[in-house]
């Protein structure tokens, strides 16, 4: 055998290497390797596939009860379509349901209040501990220091009201939304028949931008043009609703009340209209000063225009006059709500009725509870309660007074000294100060009037109503008042509306409001400008900020590159020496918010600064955290005697 010498070895080795390389190249391995490299470097997520099917359900989030069709991939919901696809709540449900910061199980505070440090506990531990805290209050005769704060009227709020009442407290409050302030002003919530009206007169109510029952409103809006329904919008700034209205009546900032009084004057004195309601006779004498000419000098609306509107309103068959300034964050004085409602009453419009949330009725009470209940003196509204009330144990049901109330910082202090239980799917600014956060459900996980929930609840999250029933079961004294196994037994009753009593004209409130307003509107050299809020589509009063797809809709003149913008009238800005994009501070008598940028536009009135609501949250997931500033900190904090809530719509400010 021939010995392999060096040369042969090199030839062989070289050949082997060359052959191997050629083989590798022609096998396609390099392409595979490249493909692998491409995929590896991209680290690209592939959405999970599965069996596609559709579920039918009903959205119980509001009285409209939209029908839903939910596209499912296996047990995951990936798309929601509704019969009228009207409100963002429906569209947004997936983002809430699959939010990475959903609370999986009850959280117990672990550290300072507001520090956001929690330990997880079981439901049983949480409810037992809460029940023992309640029993302490009962035994310590501190029933009047138990309170409940709700966001909206619904099944859970009815259950919470019942819990608070059963414990002998009347401290049951609602955030100052449309329903809460109209209920306390009028004794009920006006139900407008938008489907079937021919003339809508809105006093600052941005009815096409998420106001009130937005789903049914937008549904009704589809038919307005065909039916010849006319929309007249009285508002200071040119909102989208004002732009879509058949007529926009620009009023001076904050003077909607006077316009309503002026129209009422014409209806009564010149059209011979008359209204029911206690105190009407006095009210008439009181408003006799507000002739169209007088009102014109206050509101800036020509007297002719006032007469014209009054005439059109008078002639319309089914007119509605709508109050409640804003879109989702509503602020109007009781005097304004009454004055606007009086217009409906004066023409006896068949398109407006007054209804009231019936709740679950007064529960049976123990002797101690009954005694405490009868002697309790609750505040008129939430802001009044935060500022002047006392509490040691409070339930917060989805509400967020720390962010949304003008007394947010007072609320923080008071929550710091109380035992706080919060029901929420995400930790918001108020839940941040809770001792226990009890995870609640998104509506797709909730059983509905149509039947079972579409999607199984996340982790150990539980319907807040169920949690209240379970909690009541642990408290000896009130167990009898909650004779239900499950919240599903109550779905139909929870947010029912019943007839409201007759409303009354509260002349004291009108008097004090007019005095306050006149003071606010008078020239003030220190604070020459008016601050008026506005809201973005879907973001509303701040809840929407927690969702990344809603963040995609915020425009560059509202929040851009981590800076909040305000809108200022061009001429006013020129007078103040402010240029486009300039950084300014806004100061009111209550304080200062700094570092916002100015956008100059004539969609806001001269002398007005328009600021978006909803920003400046400290929690509500990392998507909402620390974005912009919260104007409520400096907004007007005079409490309305009837609604018990601050009328923060108009604030006198100056800018630096």
């Amino acid at each position: 055998m021939k010995k392999i010498d060096r040369k042969d070895f090199l030839t062989l080795a070289g050949g082997a290497v060359a052959g191997g390389l050629a083989g590798t190249v022609f096998s396609g391995a390099p392409i595979d390797a490249l493909q692998w490299l491409v995929e590896w470097t991209q680290d690209q997520y592939r959405p999970l596939d599965g069996r596609e099917h559709y579920l039918r359900s009903v959205c119980d989030a509001c009285p409209d009860r939209c029908e839903l069709s939910i596209r499912m991939i296996d047990d995951r919901a990936v798309n929601i379509q509704t019969s009228n696809s009207a409100c963002p709540v429906g569209q947004n449900a997936l983002q809430l349901m699959y939010h990475p910061e959903r609370i999986p199980q009850p959280l117990k505070r672990d550290g300072r209040k507001g520090s956001g440090k929690w330990t997880t506990v079981t439901w049983d531990q949480a409810l037992t501990d809460i029940a023992s805290k309640i029993n302490e209050k009962i035994q310590g005769n501190k029933r009047h220091l138990i309170a409940g704060i709700n966001k909206d009227y619904n099944l859970t709020s009815a259950l919470l009201d019942r819990l608070i009442a059963a414990l002998g407290s009347k401290n049951s409050y609602y955030e100052a939304g449309l329903e809460a302030i109209t209920t306390s002003s009028l004794g009920g919530v006006p139900q407008y028949n938008f489907e079937n009206t021919d003339y809508i007169l809105s006093f600052g109510a941005r009815i096409l931008e998420g106001w009130g029952p937005s789903g049914s409103l937008l549904k009704a809006f589809r038919g307005w043009k065909a039916r010849g329904t006319k929309l007249v919008m009285a508002e200071t700034n040119r909102s989208r609703t004002a732009s879509m209205a058949d007529e926009w009546v620009p009023v001076k900032a904050g003077t909607e009340l006077f316009l309503a009084l002026g129209i009422a004057y014409v209806l009564i004195r010149e059209k011979g209209r008359n209204s029911g309601g206690a105190g009407f006779a006095n009210w008439v004498t009181y408003i006799s000063d507000y002739t169209p000419e007088q009102v014109s000098s206050i509101t800036g609306v020509p007297a002719e225009k006032i007469r014209e509107i009054a005439d059109a309103f008078n002639r319309a068959g089914r007119p509605v006059a709508v109050s409640g300034r804003g879109a989702q964050g509503i602020s109007s004085s009781s005097a304004e709500i009454t004055a606007v409602y009086a217009l409906n009453s004066l023409v006896n419009s068949p398109a407006v009725t007054l209804k009231k949330h019936t709740g679950l009725g007064t529960p049976p009470m123990s002797q101690g509870a009954a005694q405490a209940y009868s002697s309790a003196e609750p505040k008129k509204g939430l802001d009044d309660f935060i500022k002047n009330g006392e509490f040691e144990l409070v339930f917060i049901n989805e509400a967020n007074p720390v962010h949304r109330s003008v007394f947010g910082s007072d609320m923080k202090t008071k929550l710091g000294n109380a035992f706080v239980v919060s029901f929420a799917p995400l930790v918001n600014d108020s839940a941040l100060y809770a001792d226990y956060v009890l995870p609640s459900l998104s509506f797709l996980e909730t059983k509905t009037t149509a039947g079972d929930a579409a999607v199984a609840p996340y982790a150990q999250a539980r319907h807040a109503g169920q949690a209240i029933i379970d909690l009541a079961g642990k408290i000896e004294e009130i167990r009898g008042a909650f004779n239900w196994q499950s919240y599903t037994d109550l779905i139909r009753e929870g947010s029912a509306l019943g007839a409201a009593g007759n409303f009354a004209f509260n002349n004291e409130s009108l008097k004090s409001q007019i005095t306050l307003l006149k003071k606010l509107l008078s020239e003030d050299r220190n604070y020459p400008l008016s601050l008026i809020p506005y809201e973005l589509p879907m973001l509303g009063d701040g809840d929407g900020l927690a969702f990344p797809y809603i963040l995609k809709n915020i425009d560059g003149n509202t929040y851009s590159k981590k800076k909040l913008w305000v809108m200022i009238n061009r001429q006013t800005a020129r007078d103040q020496g402010v240029s486009e994009g300039e950084r300014i501070d806004i100061e009111s008598s209550r304080g200062e918010i700094g570092s916002v940028r100015a956008h100059l536009t004539d969609t806001v009135a001269p002398g007005v600064v328009a600021i978006p609501l909803g920003f400046g949250q400290k929690a509500n997931t990392k998507y909402a955290e620390d974005k912009g500033v919260n104007p409520k900190e400096i907004m007007n904090a005079e409490i309305d005697p009837l609604t018990g809530n601050a009328d923060w719509w108009l604030t006198r400010v100056k800018i630096d």
Binding site: L34, L37, V38, T41
Partner: protein, 412 residues
């Protein structure tokens, strides 16, 4: 290892103070280039100040500028090999190297600029050729032209590289180099031909294709950029050789070579100015009014009409200083003329990218703004520093300037 470090130390210490500082700065920039280059390649273009409203930024300006100025290599070669302008012989090696570097780094910047560099080969495998003879997408043409022409430059550079003392001692390579040099005119002709296309495509056709953007659209811009490259590129080649001479404190290229190449540049600047005037006139009178916009209103924001004025002034200055013999023969004025010719070219690229991208598409939008981020500067300047270092290395170790060696031989 220690030996190697010592070697570097000694090498570094052997230079004069000015060169030491220059080298330190250049190496620092290359360091930044590497660091931020990795950041851009691995974590994406989010770190640049480009955006959906401003998709082309500094690197595209760099690409356009390098391609235009590097095009001077072909123009010079064309005049030398085809027109037999032998005065250009002493500068040709330097221009070929500069051209090579310009195209190499155009590739490098393009790799940074595209979002998926790992898919860059799609340009060869899925070219958007369209139905015609010419590619439909100008960027397809850019990729192909750039490739071919980069290969040509490699071939042109080969004889220079083969002159390196180690390689030159191998007979086979020596003769290859020699004969390659003889047939170089073929490559020069092919290169110039491709260069025309390529200048046109990356410089002009790219913008002329975007019919929906009034700020760019004019087919004629294609020819403007071709001429622009010959005018600016030749001056750029002269300036590089001139600077090398200043740094080396030697006459690397004879005076008449500079006179000849800058004269060419001056003449081409006249043609450029004429072409550009036609282009501006066509846009202002036909294409921009056709979409109901006024030409002057396209100029706004921070990149205003002054840019076009400045471009015109640079061109006029270049013409006066380089064409008139009285001015050209004064060294300082010749230098100023070269710089003006280069600035004309650079300005036109700045206008096309900066001003073009900032012009709003909707009447309610303001002019967009763009401030390159630190990463963009690092990659851009670092890339240029790499080019400078390679050129410096070549000047030291390769016969970049035959004129210099001739003199040295004579002295010996």
């Amino acid at each position: 290892m220690k030996k190697f470090i010592d070697l570097l130390k000694n090498e570094f210490n052997s230079y004069s103070r000015n060169i030491k500082i220059t080298l330190a700065v250049l190496f620092a920039l290359v360091g930044l280039f590497i660091i931020f280059g990795i950041q851009i390649l691995f974590w994406g273009l989010g770190y640049t100040d480009m955006s959906n409203l401003y998709p082309f930024g500094q690197w595209i300006i760099g690409d356009l500028g390098l391609v235009a100025l590097g095009g001077g290599a072909f123009t010079t070669g064309f005049f030398l090999y085809i027109f037999r302008n032998d005065k250009l012989e002493p500068i040709i090696n330097s221009t070929v190297l500069v051209g090579f570097l310009c195209y190499l780094f155009t590739f490098v910047f393009l790799v940074f600029d595209i979002g998926q560099p790992i898919r860059a080969w799609f340009g060869y495998t899925y070219p958007n050729w369209g139905p015609g003879l010419m590619p439909q997408s100008m960027l397809t043409e850019v990729v192909w032209c750039l490739t071919f022409y980069f290969l040509i430059l490699c071939v042109e550079l080969l004889p220079v590289a083969l002159k390196h003392k180690v390689l030159d001692s191998i007979p086979f390579l020596k003769y290859t180099g020699h004969y390659l040099h003889k047939i170089m005119w073929i490559f020069a002709a092919a290169g110039t031909f491709l260069s025309f296309f390529h200048q046109g495509s990356l410089g002009g056709g790219m913008w002329g294709e975007m019919y929906a953007k009034p700020v760019w659209f004019d087919h004629f811009y294609f020819y403007v950029t071709i001429v622009g490259a010959t005018a600016g590129g030749t001056s750029f080649m002269a300036l590089i050789a001139y600077s090398a001479g200043k740094v080396m404190k030697k006459e690397v290229v004879p005076w008449e070579t500079f006179q000849s190449i800058t004269f060419i540049s001056g003449i081409m600047s006249i043609v450029y100015l004429a072409f550009r005037a036609i282009n501006v006139y066509r846009m202002a009178s036909v294409f921009v009014p056709a979409v109901d916009r006024s030409f002057m209103d396209l100029w706004g924001g921070i990149y205003g009409f002054w840019m076009l004025v400045a471009e015109g002034l640079f061109a006029v200055a270049a013409i006066v200083l380089l064409v008139v013999k009285k001015f050209r023969s004064q060294e300082r004025l010749m230098l100023a003329g070269m710089i003006c010719a280069i600035m004309t070219s650079v300005m036109s690229k700045l206008i096309v990218v900066l001003h073009g991208s900032s012009t709003p598409n909707f009447p309610w939008r303001p002019f967009a703004e763009y401030a390159p981020s630190f990463q963009e500067w690092a990659v851009m300047l670092g890339g240029l520093a790499c080019m400078a270092l390679i050129y410096m290395w070549a000047a030291k170790y390769l016969p970049l300037f035959p004129h210099l060696h001739k003199h040295e031989h004579e002295e010996h």
